[in-house]
Symmetry: C2
Subunit: 205 residues, 2 copies
């Protein structure tokens, strides 16, 4: 790769980082290409040179978020011995990640739209399903090794995800320290809530 290509890669990265910050802060629709132009100093044409479209740029970002999440978790999971520690570890990683949760304000604009499914929306639905699966497996591990009693891990996985999502929303106005406290508290309440009593059988619809 020569110097010009290197410079070009840096430009693309700069555009992506600026876009990321704006999407997190303002949301998808409220962020304009002109906003990104002002923030980066790159032209509209340059943005479209590097990314197919505004939606393509956003898709690139959520793929990047997903890769980073998996990488970071893979690097830190071995530090935790118990499922309890892992849950606190997940909360820590979510709290410290400035994006906090892939289903951020921007991504939510795509989530569960009833119009024709865009590529972004498909990808987000897929990530959501994998998050729930990740939660469920973690909880099943805890049950299997006796940390928690038997329980409906599918339903608990949804509660846990709801808790993370809600914490994400409420943390936007908090300091990093208070964000960490919020996530830790959330896990504490959740763990206290599942270690002794199982959920009641849900009635048939």
């Amino acid at each position: 790769m020569n110097q010009k290509q290197l410079q070009s890669e840096q430009t693309k990265k700069k555009i992506a980082e600026a876009a990321r910050a704006l999407f997190v802060q303002k949301g998808y629709k409220a962020t304009s290409i002109e906003d990104i132009v002002r923030t980066t100093g790159s032209s509209k044409g340059n943005i479209y040179y590097h990314f197919k479209s505004k939606e393509g740029l956003f898709l690139y970002l959520i793929e990047e978020w997903d890769r980073e999440w998996i990488l970071n978790w893979g690097q830190s999971v071995h530090l935790y011995k118990t499922t309890t520690d892992k849950l606190y570890g997940v909360a820590q990683q979510l709290a410290d990640d400035d994006l906090n949760h892939p289903l951020t304000k921007a991504a939510d604009e795509f989530f569960h739209q009833e119009e024709k499914t865009s590529e972004v929306e498909s990808r987000i639905a897929e990530m959501m399903a994998r998050h729930l699966e990740f939660n469920q497996k973690l909880l099943q591990e805890g049950i299997d090794c006796g940390e928690f009693g038997p329980n409906d891990t599918e339903r608990l996985a949804v509660i846990l995800e709801a808790l993370f999502f809600g914490a994400n929303q409420l943390s936007r106005s908090l300091s990093p320290h208070k964000t960490r406290v919020l996530y830790k508290d959330a896990i504490t309440v959740f763990l206290n809530g599942i270690t002794r009593n199982k959920l009641t059988e849900s009635e048939e619809e």
Copy 2:
């Protein structure tokens, strides 16, 4: 009020209801005045005759949500004897309300924007603060009458709100029955989580 005024009130109501459904489904920015025109059969001019602006229409709706919430809660609170029952009652009301939570997808587009505060945003921040206060008072009542042990109700109030918010987000793709189960489960885990162990002291920043 004469017949023409009556008819006019009904038109205004029809516009508001159509807008409400569209804002809940698509969000604020993604819903256009044209969308409301198509859904109601009313003209743009008519919408602007009844409402000052698009944002004014939305503000009207969140005020209405707030009033209805308070009214409904006021009508049902006496049915519950314990704080535990009240928490399940709140969850039931949230689950059954098709708007589910004032901080819906649409409202979130205003929440914590860093630009100059609009009237809608001020109102939403105010509602959020009152929800947290409502949660805190409810939990304090439970502590005072011995249902729960002493705890940091301010922090727990935030956890509870996070749980409600997350449940709202995740319930959008669920059936009404599954939504009720999700909310009930959330309260169950929360109650189990707070009735025995108090939160650890949070470290100073």
